[in-house]
Each structure stands twice: as structure tokens, then as C-alpha cells.
């Protein structure tokens, strides 16, 4: 019988059918031909004829073509382990689908992984977003890289300084504008708050002084109306108008197009609204925004007799400009340097004494980079932010270590599956790629969720930084720009590599045969794999220790600041700012007026004590001067202020010797002063200065009175809680030569502050509604001043706790795994007579060993990086032994708790059960 299978197969070769189907068809057709052949033979044909006839039948049509049409061309599917290179995108798609399926099968694992990564990546991204906004992002104006700041290289000044960037006086600014060569254009600006209310309680807007050309130099086009131009700006311009910010336009004018022509009241003066700036423009001060911009030349109108505009020693402006094409900062600085002596000589304030004159004339102007604007927020928060980024980086590493451990366990569990696939011919690279896709998917999900968390966290941080009571008006524009996105993506990829690669390589590295024999016994871990897990846990413990130490350091620092004896009582003290400019009281009667207000306030039943001063502790506004003793000028700067009788009782600073001011200290009587201990020690070199005298180093042409010291007060912090005590001298309000139109009434309340505020409002309205008032709580002011420390303490505390929890989880995982792995061994030991307590000790001992190594490594790490944080601490050294000890104990407790469960499980094992375990 001919080989019909071969014959048919030969005819079907061209059809290119799918192999299984081809086999079927060959079977079927060859069967038919066999039957036909036999039938032909039985009808009388010989073999050769029969064969020929049958083959003729077979060839009567183009069978191959017909079958190809019917069955379709066979496409070779992608087979794992085949040597063929599958197309990239279908393979990736298949990997992704497989990864999704695998992850869905184990929701707990997936959730834990994605959440820990989201937390780690989210925290990092949030902090980075802040750093980006505060430090890196350039101003949202055209060509920010051309911008530069012009200011003196030495910023210390004598005289009156206001605003955040009071680098220059108006006189200096005008000469810079006229004589500079390196800039195609320059502009000046300053900041101040404007009271929008015409009477009663103050309602502050963030104001911006601008020179006429500022908006044009920055390339800012208004969205409504117009902005200022150089032609608007000239001395005596009066109140031509105000340019408002987009946000202000939305909140105050409801975004109404009819806002142009309406007016805003700035400190009681009416300014017509000229235009609205775009929503993206917030000024050049990074960290703050503005509400109302008005011309520098309008300052005399708003400030009245307190005007700083023509004051030669009034420092209130900053200057920026665009560099000329081809000019660099160095060349511009050289030009500014050459014109500096002339400018300083021409603008020298006549009231300066010798030393101040020398310092002034030596000032040199220079150009500094300005593409990222000016920012004192940056100065204050840059270090803490970088530190926080390091902290969150460590948290992410710890989370990754946890994930890596989890992945290792998973990889062990899947070893059998992988071994089978390798045995069937899968390429190792292909499997690696698939495992990698799984960790990439987890990383991407974590990054996506992390981005959402980051948004929430950074918004929260910005709100927190703005402080309570909207006092500091911090504004940080949070934007998801390419830097932040790139950072997040890089983190995702990094974690994917860290977490997924090692386990994947380990999993595919073992020979399949070995794996299968081990897998049958259920224990596939090698000693080497377990060693890696141990190392990961030790690393986690070490990193957690660093974070716990930092948390304790910052919390300790904050606690010390909050509880330190500031020299006065801060609880229950209310500050009422009053401004009675509109009452136009002549200077000679202002002190009496203030005293009247104080007496009215004292009369209220809710008030325990009240006084008036222009130097509220930690209030930020005071002045300082040098004093002259026995004809010699003392180099130390003395903080000074005016107070009324009752001040010490109200503020809670004890009077240690002598007396306080009384009704006998008038404008006509001997000038008197009360000084603090530091003044007595540093300036006079004595413990009791009562009776001694001194003079103040006043301006030229001013009368230099001799002050007799009548009282000694205890040291108190006036400028900054963190700094040492300064010498302080107080004078009676009645003896103030140049009384102001405003003051600060400090009030000690019997109970809570709310009822007092209400009573005061009523009283002041009764007295005269044209007096503008503003309320602040001293406690709140101090807390706001400690914002940085509170932020650090809060965040480092949170992350320290998180790190400890993650380390505990990691430790638990390793211990549980160890117990599971050594179940057999434990069973043998117990069968041979070991007590359960000994098994307990064995597990705890193992945990203890890991803990110790981790703690030692952590201490070394903490000591080496500690010095970076030193400047942010108060009254604590980074290597404080008590704190280190506390951190070690804390982690030890966590470790014991984490290993207790597996340890007890080991102790409770029944020997027979354990032995049976394979």
C-alpha cells in the first residue's frame, strides 16, 4: 500500500496550514484514499493502475489553494521560551496583561505594595514640589534668565527699614536708574500692607510699591484695563491709581469687568483701579503674592507724616533689571561698582554720625542672579526643605526594602512555576522581563497614587506655612511642571529597579531541576536568599533609627523653644494695634491720647492689666541704637522702646530693682530709662545700674539727652526666641520726642481672649469709630514665629513613626519567615527535649541580633549626617546621647513587639506536627 500520508502531506505543503489542523486533514484524506485504493483493487485494477487513478483524483484540483482559502494562513503565535524573537509591542502587551492578572490574584500584596510606594513617592514629590516652587522655578515672565537683582553687597543699614527687602533708599534708586549701563531697563519695588477699611477693625491687603516701568520690564500685559508705565512715575504724582492682582479682582470685585474705574481705599485714601494683572503673575517675591500695586511716588500720600519717600536713611526698596544683550553679571557688577562711590556720596544722610557715615560711603552696588526672583521664604526654608527631602528619601528607601522583601517571598513562591517554564524552553530574559513588568506596574500605580497624595500634602504644607490667622500670607504657586513630573517618574523607575530586579534575578538564577526537587518539599529558600532578606531588614532598622533620632531631635528642639522662659508671660495676652491718624491729633497731645485709651481699657471688667508700648516682645517692630557711656560709644546695639506705666505687670516681666515709670515722668522732667540685666552687664559692667546714666548715639543735629536709669527689669526675649538676650532700654511714652499716630495696647485678660476682644471693639467704637484697630494674640504671634520648628517637628515626627512601623513590618516578615523555614528543625529540637521558652529565646535572639547590628549601623549613620541638621536645632546637639538612647530603646521595643508573634508561634509548635512538616 502506498504511503498516502506522505503523498497527501506533500500536496498540502504549499497550503501553509496550522500544524495540528494539517495533521488532521492528512489523516482524514489519507484514510479516504486508502479506502478508495482498496475499492479499486477489489474492482479488478492492479496496484499500479489503482495508485495512478487515485493520484489523478487527488491532483484533479488545486487542493492546497482551496484548503488555504478555507482554513486560513497559519500565524505562528508567540510562545514563551521559543527562540524566535516576538514582536515588541504584542509581547509587552501580553506581559502587562499577565502582570495585571497576577496582581489581581493577590489583592493584599498588591495593596500593601502600592500603598507603601504611594506614601513614599508622594511624600518625596510633595517636598520636591515645594523646593521646586521656592528654589528652582524661574519667574513666570518672558526671558527670566536675563533678570538680575541690584543691591549693595553689604546689607546692614542704619536708619529706618521697612518691608521684606529694604535694600535701598529712594534717592539711591533714582541715581541707579539714571546712571546704570548694564541693563536695558531697571525697576524698583517694595512691599507693605494697606488697610482697606476706612474705620473700625483693620482689613489688610498685601501691597506692592512699584516704579512705573516694572510691568513693562517684566513683560506683564493686563487682562483688564492697563498697567503703569514709566510716564506715570514722577515725584508728586499723587494718587493716580492702583493695579490689582487677579485674585484680588476675583475676591473683592467678583471678577466684574466694571471694576476699572471703581476705587480701593488704601489707608483711608481713595485710589481708582486702573487695571488687573494676569492670574499667573504674583510679583517677583517668591513665597508671597500681592493684592494691590501702586506707584512708589504715591507713598507720601498714603504714609502722610510717616513718609519714607524722601528720607535719605529710609530703606524700603529693592531693584531688579534686565541685562543688556552681551552683558554678564560680572560686567554689570563692575559698572555698578564704578558708580557706587559717587551715588553714596551724593545721597549720604546728613543725620549720620561718624561710624554710620563710614559704613554708608563704603557700600558697593553689585548685580546678583534674579531669574528666580527674590525670596526670604527661600532663605528661611531652603535648609529645612532639603532636610525634609532627605527624610522622605529615607522613608522611601525603607518602604522599598519592605517591598523588596515581599517580592523575594513572592519570587520564592513562584520558583516552581518559573522552573517549569524554563524547562519548557522559556528564555531567562523573557521571564525576567515579565517579572520586571510586574514591579514596573506596581511602581507606576504607586507613582500615580503618590502624585495625588503629593498634591494633597503640598497644599496642606503651604496652608500650614501660611500660619494661623492668615498672618504671614505665604503664597506658593504649586505647579506640576516637567521637573516635578520627571522627579516622580525617576523615583518610580528607581523603586521598580530596586524592588523588582534583585528578586527577579534570584528567581530565575536557580537551575530548574534543583528548584523542582526542592519545590516538591515546599522549601525553596536558599541560605543565600535568606541572607539578602536579613541585610534588607538590618538596613531598614538602621535607616529607621536615623529617622527616629531626627524626629526626637526636632520635637525636642520645639519643646525647648515652647517651654523656655522668655522673660514674660505669653498666655492670655492680647495685643490691640490702634491707628488714630484720621483723628489728626497734634504730636504734643498724642501721648495723652494714648494714655486715655489705656485707662478706658483698664476700666473694663474683663481686663486684668493693660499698658501701651511700641515694642511688643517678638512683635518684630522696635528700633535699636548704640549708646554712649562716659563719652564713649559702646559697639553693642541696644533694643529700645517706649512704654506706659503698668507695662511690667501686664507683660509679666519682673522688675528687679528700682521703680517703673509714673506720672512724674513727663516731657519736661529728667529723661529716665529702665534697662534689663543684659544692658547692665554688657554695657555698664554692673549688676545694679540704678542711678547710672547714659546717652543715645543719635543722628546729627538731634538733641542728645542724658538718661538716668531708674529701674532694672529681668531679661526677656524681644527679637527672636532662638537668640540670646539683647541689651534693652525702655523709656516713658510721655518722653517720646516724636510721638506716632499709632500704638499697641497690650492687655492681660482674666480668662479667654474672645470676650475681651468683643469688649474692646465696643469700647473703641464708642471712643471714636475712626480709630482703626487690629487684634493679635501674643501666643499666636509666638507660635507663628516658630513655624519652621513646628513644621520640622511635625513632619519628622510623622515620618519617624512611619519608618519605625515599616521597620517593624519588615522585621516581623523576616522573623515569621525564619520560623516557617525552620519548623522542621524546631520540631526536632523540641522532640529532643528543648523547652518552649528556649525556642522563644532562639527567635527573639535572632531578632535581637538583627536589631543590634541595625542599631549600630544606624547610630554611625546618624552621627555622620547629624551635623547637617545642627543649624536647625535649638539647645540640642545632633549627637545628644539621651536622644540616641531613647531612639534605640524605642526601636528595641518595636522590634520586640514585632518578633513576639513569630516567637510565640515557634514556642507553641507541637513537635509531631513540626516534624511532619516537609
Amino acid at each position: 500500500m502506498p504511503d498516502f500520508q506522505r503523498i497527501v502531506r506533500g500536496r498540502l505543503g504549499r497550503a501553509n496550514l496550522e500544524p495540528t489542523r494539517e495533521s488532521e486533514i492528512v489523516d482524514e484524506l489519507s484514510q479516504h484514499l486508502r479506502d478508495r485504493y482498496e475499492s479499486q483493487l477489489s474492482s479488478g485494477m492492479n496496484e499500479t493502475e489503482a495508485e495512478r487513478a487515485i493520484i489523478a483524483e487527488l491532483d484533479s484540483r488545486d487542493l492546497a489553494a482551496e484548503l488555504r482559502d478555507i482554513e486560513g494562513r497559519w500565524k505562528e503565535p508567540v510562545a514563551l521560551g521559543s527562540n524566535q524573537r516576538p514582536e515588541f509591542w504584542p509581547a509587552l502587551w501580553q506581559d502587562l496583561r499577565y502582570a495585571v492578572r497576577k496582581l489581581r490574584l493577590d489583592p493584599v500584596f498588591t495593596t500593601v505594595c502600592v500603598l507603601s510606594l504611594a506614601l513614599g513617592i508622594g511624600a518625596n514629590t510633595a517636598i520636591f514640589q515645594l523646593i521646586d516652587a521656592v528654589r528652582m522655578r524661574t519667574l513666570p515672565v518672558p526671558h527670566p534668565q536675563d533678570l538680575a537683582v541690584i543691591r549693595p553687597s553689604n546689607l546692614s543699614t542704619t536708619g529706618r527699614q521697612t518691608g521684606r527687602y529694604g535694600y535701598l533708599t529712594n534717592a539711591i534708586w533714582e541715581r541707579i536708574r539714571a546712571r546704570q549701563r548694564g541693563f536695558s531697563d531697571v525697576f524698583a519695588f517694595g512691599n507693605q500692607s494697606f488697610n482697606l477699611a476706612t474705620r473700625g477693625e483693620v482689613r489688610n491687603a498685601q501691597g506692592l510699591w512699584v516704579s512705573g516701568e516694572m510691568f513693562d520690564v517684566l513683560g506683564i500685559q493686563p487682562v483688564l484695563g492697563r498697567v503703569f508705565h514709566a510716564s506715570d512715575d514722577h515725584p508728586g504724582c499723587g494718587a493716580p491709581g492702583a493695579v490689582i492682582s487677579y485674585r484680588f479682582w476675583q475676591t473683592e470685585f467678583s471678577g466684574d469687568a466694571g471694576a476699572i474705574g471703581k476705587s480701593v481705599s488704601l489707608e483711608g485714601h481713595s485710589f481708582p483701579v486702573l487695571g488687573v494683572t494676569p492670574a499667573s503673575f504674583h510679583g517677583v517675591d517668591v513665597g508671597h503674592s500681592f493684592d494691590v500695586a501702586t506707584l512708589i511716588c504715591s507713598e507720601p500720600v498714603i504714609a502722610g507724616e510717616d513718609s519714607i519717600y524722601s528720607m535719605p536713611h529710609g530703606w524700603w526698596l529693592a531693584v531688579m533689571g534686565r541685562l543688556q544683550p552681551g552683558w554678564t553679571l560680572e560686567i554689570a557688577t563692575a559698572q555698578l561698582d564704578s558708580i557706587s562711590p559717587g551715588i553714596m556720596a551724593e545721597t549720604l544722610p546728613p543725620v549720620y554720625q561718624a561710624e554710620a557715615r563710614k559704613q554708608y560711603l563704603q557700600k558697593k552696588l553689585a548685580a546678583y542672579p534674579g531669574s528666580t526672583g527674590l525670596s526670604n521664604l527661600r532663605r528661611e526654608y531652603e535648609s529645612p526643605l532639603w532636610l525634609l527631602l532627605a527624610v522622605t528619601g529615607l522613608v522611601l528607601l525603607i518602604a522599598c526594602a519592605n517591598l523588596a522583601n515581599l517580592m523575594l517571598v513572592r519570587a520564592s513562591a513562584r520558583e516552581k512555576e518559573i522552573a517549569v517554564r524554563i524547562a519548557l524552553g522559556a528564555a531567562r530574559g523573557r521571564i525576567l522581563r515579565q517579572l520586571f513588568t510586574e514591579s514596573l506596574l506596581i511602581a507606576l500605580l504607586g507613582a500615580a497614587l503618590g502624585t495625588l497624595l503629593a498634591r494633597m500634602l503640598s497644599s496642606f504644607l503651604v496652608r500650614y506655612l501660611s500660619g494661623e490667622g492668615d498672618v504671614r500670607h505665604i503664597f506658593v504657586g504649586l505647579v506640576m511642571d516637567w521637573r516635578v513630573l520627571g522627579f516622580t517618574a525617576a523615583l518610580a523607575i528607581l523603586t521598580c529597579v530596586l524592588v523588582g530586579l534583585a528578586p527577579a534575578i534570584k528567581a530565575t538564577g536557580t537551575a530548574p531541576a534543583r528548584v523542582m526537587s526542592l519545590a516538591a518539599r515546599g522549601m525553596t529558600a536558599t541560605r543565600e536568599r535568606f541572607g539578602l532578606r536579613r541585610i534588607l531588614v538590618v538596613a531598614q532598622v538602621a535607616l529607621s533609627l536615623v529617622l527616629v533620632v531626627s524626629a526626637l531631635l526636632f520635637s525636642g528642639s520645639l519643646r525647648k523653644l515652647l517651654t523656655l522662659d522668655a522673660g514674660f508671660q505669653r498666655e492670655g495676652v492680647l495685643i490691640m494695634d490702634i491707628d488714630f491718624t484720621r483723628l489728626t491729633i497734634p504730636p504734643a497731645q498724642r501721648a495723652i491720647f494714648r494714655q486715655t485709651v489705656v485707662e478706658r481699657v483698664r476700666a473694663l471688667p474683663e481686663v486684668e492689666a493693660a499698658a501701651e508700648t511700641d515694642a511688643v516682645p517678638l512683635g518684630g517692630s522696635y528700633w535699636n541704637d548704640q549708646v554712649v557711656v562716659n563719652g564713649e560709644v559702646n559697639k553693642a546695639l541696644v533694643d529700645m522702646g517706649h512704654i506706659t506705666p503698668g507695662y511690667f505687670k501686664t507683660i509679666g516681666t519682673p522688675l528687679l530693682a528700682g521703680r517703673e515709670f509714673n506720672q512724674h515722668d513727663t516731657a519736661a522732667s529728667q529723661k529716665v530709662a529702665v534697662v534689663n540685666q543684659e544692658f547692665a552687664r554688657k554695657i555698664l559692667g554692673t549688676e545694679n545700674p540704678v542711678g547710672r546714666t547714659f546717652k543715645i548715639q543719635v543722628y546729627q543735629g538731634q538733641p542728645q539727652h542724658e538718661y538716668e536709669i531708674v529701674g532694672l527689669m529681668a531679661n526677656a526675649k524681644y527679637y527672636d526666641l532662638r537668640q540670646e538676650f539683647d541689651p534693652v532700654a525702655f523709656y516713658p511714652q510721655t518722653q517720646d520726642d516724636r510721638p506716632d499716630n499709632y500704638g499697641q495696647i497690650i492687655v492681660r485678660a482674666g480668662g479667654s481672649l474672645e470676650p475681651v476682644v468683643g469688649a474692646l471693639r465696643r469700647t473703641m467704637a464708642e471712643m471714636n469709630p475712626d480709630i482703626t484697630i487690629n487684634f493679635r494674640s501674643l501666643d499666636e504671634e509666638i507660635r507663628n514665629g516658630l513655624l519652621k520648628e513646628r513644621l520640622l517637628a511635625m513632619l519628622s515626627g510623622f515620618f519617624g513613626l512611619l519608618a519605625a512601623v515599616l521597620a517593624a513590618v519588615g522585621l516581623y516578615g523576616v522573623m515569621a519567615y525564619m520560623v516557617a523555614r525552620r519548623t522542621n528543625e524546631i520540631g526536632i529540637r523540641m522532640a529532643l527535649g528543648a523547652a518552649p521558652s528556649q525556642m522563644l529565646a532562639m527567635v527573639l535572639g535572632e531578632a535581637g541580633r538583627l536589631l543590634c547590628i541595625g542599631v549600630v549601623a544606624g547610630i554611625i549613620l546618624a552621627l555622620s549626617v547629624g551635623r547637617w541638621a545642627a543649624s536647625l536645632l535649638f539647645a540640642l546637639k545632633p549627637y545628644d546621647p539621651a536622644i540616641m538612647g531613647m531612639a534605640c530603646v524605642g526601636l528595641a521595643i518595636v522590634a520586640v513587639l514585632a518578633s513576639t508573634v513569630p516567637a510565640r508561634r515557634a514556642a507553641k509548635l507541637q513537635p509531631m506536627v513540626a516534624l511532619r512538616e516537609e
Partner: protein, 121 residues
């Protein structure tokens, strides 16, 4: 010459008729019971007294087409002492199509009869 022409015309007619009716033939043969391919070709040859012949190259493509359309379904069956064979049976869809094909064929034949006057016993 006319004999050759006649033979050619017969061949053409033969092919055309066969094409249209081949499906009907197979479907109706499978109506009573499942059969394998060789059996189907034998049945056709026998019942048509040799007029209609389906050889291997023309039968199987037809069977596979019908199978692809879902009118018949094939199954490998191994009977004791025999090689395995592929048996085909009608699907429910196939039964519907058989009814349809029969109706169409009957209409066609009736029309032809009216015109040509050919009738059958």
C-alpha cells in the same frame, strides 16, 4: 464536431449543476445519521447510479466549508478494531439550511418542468 461540443456542454452543465446542488446532497445525506467522508462519496455515487461522483479533491474542501459555516460538525471517532475516522453530522443550523435548500431546489425543478416539459416519474 457536434459530439465534441455536446461533450463540452455536458461537462459545463455538469459542473454548474453540481456546484449548486452539492451542498444539498451532503446535507441531506447527513440528515439520517452521521457519516464519514468516504461513506458520503460512496453514497452519492451509489444512489445516483454513477452520475454524480465526488472525488477526494472535490469532496473535502466542500465538507470543510460546510463545517466552517457551522452547518455540519466533525468529530474523530475510534471504533473497536478500526482506525479512527472523522464523522460529520448536521447541526441545528444545518437542518434549517437543508430545509431551505430543498425548498429552493423544488421551486427550481418545478420552474424547469413548466418550461421544458421534462417530468419525472
Amino acid at each position: 464536431m457536434s459530439k465534441l461540443y455536446m461533450a463540452k456542454a455536458n461537462a459545463i452543465l455538469d459542473r454548474e449543476l453540481k456546484k449548486g446542488s452539492a451542498e444539498l446532497l451532503i446535507l441531506s445525506l447527513l440528515e439520517s445519521r452521521p457519516r464519514h467522508g468516504y461513506e458520503i462519496s460512496q453514497q452519492i455515487e451509489q444512489r445516483s447510479a454513477g452520475t454524480l461522483k465526488f472525488n477526494v479533491a472535490s469532496l473535502y474542501p466542500l465538507l470543510y466549508r460546510l463545517e466552517k459555516r457551522g452547518w455540519i460538525s466533525g468529530q474523530w471517532v475510534e471504533k473497536a478494531g478500526q482506525r479512527r475516522r472523522r464523522y460529520y453530522k448536521l447541526t441545528p443550523a444545518g437542518k434549517t439550511m437543508l430545509k431551505e435548500h430543498r425548498r429552493t431546489w423544488a421551486e427550481f425543478v418545478t420552474a424547469m418542468q413548466r418550461i421544458t416539459g421534462v417530468s419525472h416519474a
